[in-house]
Symmetry: C2
Subunit: 267 residues, 2 copies
Amino acid sequence: MALTLLRRKCVAGTDRAEGSDDTLVTGPVVVLIEPQLGENIGMAARAMMNCGLTDMRLVKPRDEWPNQYAEAAASGATMVIERARVYDTTEAAIADLQMVYATTARSRDMTTEVVTPREAVVRMKKDETCGVRSGVMFGKEAKGLKNDDVALANSILTVPLNPVFTSLNLAQAVFALGYEWFQLGTETEDAVLAIPKETRLANKMELQGLFDHLETELDDSGFFHVLEKKPTMVRNIRNVLQRARFTEQEVRTFRGIITSLVKKRKS
Amino acid sequence: MALTLLRRKCVAGTDRAEGSDDTLVTGPVVVLIEPQLGENIGMAARAMMNCGLTDMRLVKPRDEWPNQYAEAAASGATMVIERARVYDTTEAAIADLQMVYATTARSRDMTTEVVTPREAVVRMKKDETCGVRSGVMFGKEAKGLKNDDVALANSILTVPLNPVFTSLNLAQAVFALGYEWFQLGTETEDAVLAIPKETRLANKMELQGLFDHLETELDDSGFFHVLEKKPTMVRNIRNVLQRARFTEQEVRTFRGIITSLVKKRKS
């Protein structure tokens, strides 16, 4: 039933079974066209691996391949480097892909759809569920893509950047794509409170114990000498301590601090 | 009136007027703690400039400062490098900031809130409207931040990444933050059709002219020899041409193509 629904949403002729040998690979293919420095290829591979992308293709890399600088700069993303395939033409590198995006910062004298990485990855994900594989072409460091390569793409992909400084390092451009791709798939919470295993957030009884302890000692020390101000002061102190979200361990630490300070005064 | 409303939303004691000399600077401060390679500082500066961030601070950089490798790697983001300030301690570097985030990939044995870059920039933007300045600390390349530095932060900032390969290049970490910051401020459309100035999208009359032209010539050439199939075929051809979103110029080009093909056949 679910499969029927899935198939119905997919474009005809792009059935999953067709791309059988690549079924396990997910995410867009990264196509570097005429990359110059091995180091940049390596850094791009590292950025890909950071984001769970593994399929890198190189069209006419300037220097020899395999390349020791690429391997060094990959900083452990060896798998991406080792699996990278080299092609003589852009056409050959993208032949098996159904959707291709061309990254460019410059506007081209062409009628082409321009999408952000955030929008592009949503499309790629949707396409992937239908067995449609996407690739993103990145041009050489200094000049970017040639218009002839851009014309092979379905859409232009432009990273929204500071308009007076749009020139992006190759690995950063790859990272912008990969980063958005990974964010789409991850279920990371926007914000969580990380707590060491051996403790937990304090409950309100424990916190009340801390408040009582502190307020009793403050009473005792004459802190609340203007009595009509006491309710407000107590409320303020409790507020700030509530905001800190104490763990049970921290409550104990702070009660120890109070005891210790009092002892010094009393001795 | 608007000002009153704004003030009411802001935390007490963080009035805009206080940070008078920095009023024009927007976005989080980038604090690099004990950075090792000048090249990485430069690449981080370039990433900042790409994203419109300009306030970089360095705590005990390993090599001398100013640093020629930093300048070269900044690839034109000279302004960021020239304005960078050097400090002896983390405390001094963050003294004027009210909110500080510590970037780390490793989980620490501390009770601290962990936020994503996407969530963090939303908070920073909101804080900024109240005159609260935020900073993000990045540790040295090999080891990241020390726990003592993390303890100075309000929250931990962790970039969601491939769990088996989380080690991010310094400039990439800075870029992940800056990228999210810039996306928040930009009004870039997710997808637009870029069209060269000298043309515009074709209107339906122009497109109908193309359809009529093509279908007449196809009729003439005997293309629709199975007459009952003609309506479906016409519909399919129109569909695919509609999808391409022709410009007025492209309509003319395609009518020229039809004429040319017909001429060849007729001659």
